[in-house]
């Protein structure tokens, strides 16, 4: 059996938008969206911690919904629009959520931060003035083993203040 031959024959072509740019690629049907982002597009900001939809490190925003990129297949994302952590800052200018994470020290080892920030981003995209409980709910699917939850909640509220009032950001 030659795995290479067998596998390459079964590749499927997909076209999807990632961070505003269109990509067309031939991918294995078993390739996850997380693998696609990390291996095909070299967007390694999206982390993988469990590869089974538990830790939330791979969280990305897909057509306005935060999803675990490790439990979605790349072929399922075909035709859709994906937003990853790499899209948030523009040049050296950080997104208000990123700045709030720094100011509130809402990170320690930093491994969960990209996924955590994307979950907060999705919350703020939908909710202008989230409560503390809204934030807890939005990041319930993201583990931070360094235990920065209290500061993450503060950062989300802090960022929502600034995104709600653009003059302040």
């Amino acid at each position: 059996m030659n795995i290479d031959d067998k596998a390459s024959k079964s590749k499927k072509q997909i076209t999807l938008t990632v961070n505003g740019a269109m990509f067309t690629r031939d991918v294995f049907p078993h390739m996850t969206l997380a693998e696609f982002l990390r291996e095909e597009l070299k967007l390694t900001g999206t982390k993988v911690g469990c590869n089974r939809g538990e830790c939330g490190s791979c969280t990305v925003i897909l057509d306005g919904h935060s999803v675990y990129a490790c439990t979605m297949l790349a072929v399922e994302a075909g035709g859709k629009s994906v937003q990853t952590i790499e899209s948030l800052s523009v040049g050296d200018k950080l997104h208000p959520i990123q700045q709030a994470f720094i100011d509130q020290d809402a990170l320690q080892c930093g491994y969960c931060s990209p996924g955590m920030i994307m979950s907060v981003k999705n919350l703020l995209d939908r909710t202008v003035k989230p409560t503390e409980d809204d934030v807890r709910c939005a990041i319930d699917g993201n583990f931070c083993r360094c235990g920065s939850y209290q500061n993450i909640i503060k950062a989300a509220i802090d960022a929502s203040d600034k995104t709600a009032d653009p003059d302040r950001s």
Binding site: D4, G45, G49, D105, C109, I117, R136, C146
Partner: protein
């Protein structure tokens, strides 16, 4: 101000004699931008051209002899480049915290132990090849229970002949005695005897072990996710028969360590061997279940504790026997269970024992204050129950037995009962005090009880209807820290260049505690510049000198003085160049906020960079620091207290933590923002240790049943309580600006505080961690029946 004596070799820099401009400020961490933008490259994010993917074949049994292993079919699979097994690596050993184990054993001693490792062109081929390796096992009986294996003199039933000589030293029975416990119990009015059990807690770092290793024919380069680059370098050199100089270890970011990654772990060795065999870079990464099954978790303990007390509250005797489940041979076990009960309270008669027992229950190792958390759970649980027995307030009882520093007896000795001569420790310095110790635990206890509203305890459940009851509990602690103990080695270098660039070279890893930020701040403070002015070379054996791994809360206390000395030495050299510019002697100069000034008239100054311009472009200034070993005495310790308000549902047994107040003393908070984050992280570990986290194993097969986050019950954002933090500062002139470690403190007393709070709410005493709803419901039912008032 105590005597100024920084713990370094050579010249001790004089104090700055000015207000701090950097240290003590809540600055943002230095590597935060990389982390929030996704630009930080962790070891699993790295790729090299021509790289192979490694995978490991793991034994599904707990104990088995490998009868036959045949790799023929796997080797025939196109894309497979190398396979290593016991057959082609005879005699090869790997090291975990210096403890050796066969790379591929004849006899498997824990579930998931490695049988073969494969390197292939891609991960799919490597995975497919695993299934083509034919292994015949002779499955042997296994041992899970440490206590049942207690009298087994050697771990031969577990490890077989493959663990000779010193590899079994971990099992040593350690005893500490003070006074005469039998006499102490005779003097007591009340004696309480209890058994406590604590669970196997897993580190559950969000990043699994991932490494990339590249061999170029003579040198090995290792990108990894570990807590110490030099620990890793030395261990790999010993295992692979290389000189340490030929191994470069690079660790820039680490996705969580908590003790589990202090030393090179097995995947690194296998990736290195495969790279050396194939001449190609090899990448290897654990899956989540591999991570759970094979990474060394915190030992589970069984603790027998008996204490005597007089009616007036004076402790008379402590007898403690702690049995550690070491798990499989090759694990590491320090002797720290003897620490808290020995020192925390004034008690003249003490007998403490720690015994480690090998079983087949995976491998074990240090985790966030390795033995502080389990030993404090037993001690502080016991203290509360004793207080109730003599009808004394728990806070008053602790203050009654309080000591200014540690309680010691000059005649005290630590000895092993294995026939070794007793080793006496010199416990006090020339002034009769114990060095390295600020304590302030009395302050911490008062702060947390005030903050939580201790006086509310009496009426917390007045007029309460429904199934929920509130409780307030409290516990104090001391935590062992490893800084400066023998053997000890730590270096730092500060270079100042002609263009004003300043570089700090430190061979440490930033594990998320903000180590790089804090050491930059120390260097900046000594030089009189801002933190941003300091660039740092770190996490790389190239360009740095030996430094400890970031474990045992040691690097702040160990590297702090080292960095301070290096920066101060560089500053003094720069002052020699600046002195003629200001027409004074170098010793008349000071520096602050980027300027060098005359101390007697600070209005006369020059920019720091103007002095740098006088540095010979070909010969930058170098200041070097070297940490001296602590004198023979108790080690660096941290202290604190925590109070918890919680609600227990009497019907479901669920515990909801409502408010938490914590007060911690660890010298000075060099960067309060980062210190608070560390403390919050400690509470998170404490929440899990108290209420949910535990490794669960099938009682028959011994296999782990919950090797994933949700069944392991890692606490979520909803479980995380509101925490009020107070940092109580003290002076430690032996350390850099009094800075001790902050990482391992906050998880230590939390479980005991919760347990004491559950008692206050419900009247039940729980002695078994984690305190899950089923245990609480069972204990409440027992209580209603009028049976035992605690669950075991």
């Amino acid at each position: 101000m105590a005597e100024h004596r920084l713990m370094v070799h050579g010249n001790v820099p004089p104090p700055l004699d000015r207000e701090f401009t950097v240290v003590g400020k809540p600055l943002n961490r230095k590597d935060a931008v990389e982390k929030v933008t996704g630009k930080a490259l962790y070891s699993g994010d790295l790729r090299l051209p021509g790289m192979l993917y490694g995978k490991i074949l793991r034994c599904p049994h707990l104990r088995a002899r490998i009868v036959k292993i045949d790799t023929t079919r796997a080797e025939a699979l196109p894309g497979v480049r190398a396979i290593i097994t016991k057959e082609n690596t005879k005699g090869w050993r790997t090291y975990w915290y210096g403890v050796s184990q066969p790379a591929f054993p004849e006899v498997i001693t824990y579930e998931g132990q490695e049988v073969a490792a494969i390197a292939a062109d891609d991960v799919y081929i490597a995975q497919a090849a695993l299934k083509l390796i034919d292994v015949e096992y002779d499955v042997l009986g296994h041992t899970l229970n440490a206590e049942e294996n207690l009298e087994n003199p050697l771990p031969s039933s577990v490890a077989g002949e493959e663990y000779p000589e010193n590899d079994i030293n971990d099992r040593t029975r350690r005893v500490v005695k003070r006074g005469d416990v039998a006499k102490g119990f005779e003097q007591a009015d009340v004696v309480l005897e209890e058994t406590y059990t604590t669970q196997a807690q897993y580190h559950a770092t969000i990043q699994t072990r991932a490494c990339l290793v590249s061999w170029d024919g003579s040198n090995l380069t290792v990108w990894d996710a570990l807590q110490g680059i030099y620990f890793t370098q030395i261990a790999l050199a010993k295992s692979l028969g290389l000189n340490p100089e030929n191994i470069r270890v690079i660790i820039k970011y680490l996705g969580g360590g908590f003790g589990s990654k202090a030393s090179a772990h097995r995947v690194t060795y296998f990736a290195a061997k495969l790279s050396m065999l194939t001449g190609k870079p090899v990448r290897m990464e654990n899956t989540r279940d591999e991570e759970f099954i094979t990474h060394p978790h915190r030992w589970d303990f069984k603790v027998y504790l008996k204490m005597g007390v007089k009616k007036n509250g004076e402790l008379t005797a402590i007898y403690q026997k702690a049995i550690a489940n070491i798990g499989a041979a090759g694990s590491y076990l320090p002797n720290r269970f003897l620490y808290a009960a020995r020192y925390l309270y004034k008690c003249p008669h003490v007998h403490l024992e720690q015994i480690g027992v090998f079983t087949n229950l995976q491998q074990t190792g240090p985790q966030r204050g390795p033995m502080n958390a389990p030993s404090i759970f037993a001690l502080e649980s016991h203290i509360d129950r004793l207080a109730e027995m003599i009808n004394m307030d728990p806070l008053e009882f602790r203050l009654k037995n309080y000591v200014d520093f540690f309680y010691v007896d000059p005649e005290e000795a630590i000895r092993s009962v294995e026939g070794l001569p007793p080793i006496r420790e010199k416990l006090v310095d020339a002034t009769g005090k114990i060095p390295y110790m600020t304590k302030n635990l009395d302050k911490c206890m008062k702060i947390v009880t005030d903050t939580i509203g201790w006086e509310r305890r009496k009426h917390l459940n007045d007029n309460v209807k429904g199934p929920k009851r509130r409780g307030i509990g409290f516990a104090s602690f001391t935590a062992y820290q490893g800084a400066g103990n023998k053997p000890n080695k730590a270096f730092a270098d500060v270079d100042i260049f002609n263009d004003g660039t300043i570089n700090l070279a430190i061979g440490i890893v930033d594990i998320g505690g903000g180590q790089v930020t804090v050491f930059s701040m120390i260097a900046a403070e000594e030089l009189g510049v801002s933190m941003e002015d300091i660039s740092v070379t770190y996490g790389d054996t190239k360009g740095t000198r030996y430094a400890p791994a970031c474990q045992s809360s040691r690097v702040t206390g160990e590297m702090g003085p080292t960095v301070l000395q290096a920066a101060a030495e560089a500053r003094q050299q720069l002052f020699k160049l600046a002195a003629p510019m200001l027409e004074v002697k170098p010793e008349e100069l000071g520096s602050r906020n980027g300027r060098i000034y005359i101390k007697s008239d600070p209005s006369i100054s020059i920019p720091f960079k103007a002095a740098c311009a006088r540095i010979d472009p070909g010969r930058p200034i170098r200041g070097s620091g070297s940490r001296a070993t602590n004198p023979d005495s108790p080690m660096v310790g941290a202290f604190g207290a925590q109070a918890v308000e919680l609600e227990v549902d009497l019907e479901t047994g669920e515990v909801n933590i409502l408010n938490v107040a914590i007060a911690h003393e660890f010298g000075r908070a060099l960067n309060p923002k980062l210190c608070e984050s560390q403390l919050l992280g400690g509470v998170y570990f404490g929440v899990g240790y108290a209420l949910s986290e535990e490794g669960i194993y099938d009682p028959k097969t011994g296999k782990m049943l919950n090797p994933n986050f949700h069944q392991y019950r890692l606490a979520t954002s909803y479980d995380y309580p509101d925490v009020k933090i107070v940092i109580v500062e003290g002076e430690e002139p032996w350390l850099a600006y009094s800075g001790k470690g902050g990482g391992e403190n906050a998880n230590t007393p939390f479980a005991a505080a919760v347990r004491n709070g559950i008692h206050h709410a419900t009247g039940i005493w729980l002695n078994d961690l984690p305190m899950t709803p089923d245990k609480i419901v069972n204990a409440l039912q027992e209580k209603r029946k009028g049976g035992s008032s605690h669950a075991l």
